[in-house]
Amino acid sequence: VIRIVLPAHLRALARVDGEVQLEAGTVREALAGLEAAHPALRGTIRDPVTQERRAFVRFYACSEDLSHDPPDDPLPARVLSGEEPLLVIGAMAGG
């Protein structure tokens, strides 16, 4: 079971408090599980048609930016063990 931390907007949309926990081994599986568990999140983290990550959404774990890694790469071991969360971050932009 991995832990996923969502930004506040998406927590409110999915009506969850705190972290989301689900079974996943990759970012793609994590997103699929997230959308299956919370259909309201469909289209918010990745484009519903292209499945590409939205430009201002980033994935971090273990102080590493996973945003540009292939979505089928295995998540870091500490994420898979539940020690560290997978962070979904809305990028800071603007002034």
């Binding site: 907007h9 998406l10 409110a12 918010t44 484009d47 519903p48 048609v49 809305g90 932009a93």
Partner: protein, 371 residues
């Protein structure tokens, strides 16, 4: 007890303002979807408790939310807007081809007859329709074929549907009016629409299909908000293109500038406002003065309405979808500003007061008249 519900979309959420028939005391509820840019909120004519909203954001894309209790609670519905076929490219601002891609929903237009049917006008310009309560959205095939002409014609990349109760698929009539204004190829456009629309909606009343009569006469008192929205959009396009001229001329020659489609006086429908007046009320802020102009002569003569509106140092704007009217006997008029004020007039524009003053910038205002 009759009342009104004003649905306000802002840069950072949606607000629901409710009042009784007197429209003096207001209850403000919100923000809903805090932090999301809500371009449009609109209630269903079929069911007053059924309200649709279109929150979007640069980060998390487009949402469509539906409330079945008059805006107190909301549930997300389908938000996948997939263009029909291969969308191709259109001309970008620098003249280069640019891939056609969905950006956001600008306007939702619930059906006048079916609670599960809604049209959505989107950027990049297209019209989508749901017939299953928002679960799925399909692009209308006629608009799909005309995409490139829509974008070239409008000069913008969005489409806004609107309904007239006299013509349930008034979207077709809107586009026909665009044709008359030289924005779309006429004959071919009609053929394309014919694939989607009932003949009656396309053709309208033959007696009224003459030049200068863009819309069919409204039935009863129903069309106000939607019809107004059409013209607010037209004004908005005008403002985008020729802003300085619009402001400079606004007070001097508003009638000529607006080029309204109805030329002849028509019977009064209500105290204070003529039946078609909502199309002719346009707040403008020239010289730091916020005014609403009203015509009682079919657009030939205009009077500024100022009582209760700031008349100095006011430089807010009113965006294209941010004005509406209710259907009560003494017509109420409402508009929102980029300064976050929502003004209401319960007496057809004679006097105004702010319902709220410090909301985020107002993007849209719609009104429901409650039974």
């Amino acid at each position: 007890m009759p009342g009104v519900r004003v649905l306000v979309g802002t840069r950072k959420g949606a607000f629901v303002l409710t009042s009784d028939e007197g429209r003096r005391q207001w209850q403000v509820d919100g923000p809903h979807f805090g932090g999301w840019e809500v371009l449009h909120v609109k209630g269903s004519p079929v069911d007053p408790d059924l309200v649709w909203a279109a929150p979007s954001g640069g980060w998390f894309g487009q949402l469509i939310q539906r409330s079945q209790d008059g805006g107190r609670s909301w549930d997300p519905v389908g938000n996948e807007f997939r263009y029909d076929g291969v969308p191709g490219t259109h001309q970008w601002y620098d003249g280069t081809p640019h891939p056609w891609e969905f950006a956001k929903v600008w306007h939702l237009e619930p059906s006048l007859t079916d609670r599960d049917t809604v049209h959505a006008g989107v950027e990049d310009a297209a019209l989508f329709k749901t017939t299953d309560g928002g679960t799925s959205w399909q692009e209308l095939s006629g608009t799909a074929r005309a995409r490139h002409r829509l974008v070239l014609a409008a000069g913008r990349r969005r489409a806004l549907p609107a309904h007239d109760p006299a013509a349930p698929d008034r979207r077709a009539a809107d586009l026909r009016r665009d044709q008359r204004r030289g924005r779309l190829p006429h004959r071919r456009r009609r053929q394309e629409l014919a694939a989607d629309q009932p003949r009656a909606a396309l053709g309208g009343d033959p007696g009224r299909r003459r030049r200068g009569r863009a819309l069919r006469a409204p039935a009863g008192d129903a069309p106000v908000a939607a019809r107004h929205a059409v013209h607010a959009e037209a004004l908005g396009r005008h403002a985008h293109r020729r802003r300085g001229r619009l402001l400079a001329r606004g007070e001097r020659q508003p009638a000529q500038r607006l080029r309204l489609p109805h030329r002849r006086p028509r019977p009064r429908a209500r105290d204070g406002l003529r039946r078609a007046d909502p199309e002719r009320l346009h707040p403008l802020p020239p010289d730091g003065r916020l005014r609403v102009y009203r015509s009682r002569t079919g657009g030939d003569e205009w009077e500024p309405l100022t009582r209760g509106l700031p008349q100095e140092h006011c430089y807010v704007n009113v965006l294209r979808d941010a004005m509406a009217v209710d259907r009560l006997d003494e017509c109420g008029v409402y508009f929102g500003t980029t300064g976050g004020q929502v003004y209401a007039s319960p007496d057809g524009g004679d006097s105004w007061s702010a319902i709220v003053r410090d909301l985020p910038a107002v993007l849209s205002v719609e009104v429901q008249t409650l039974p």
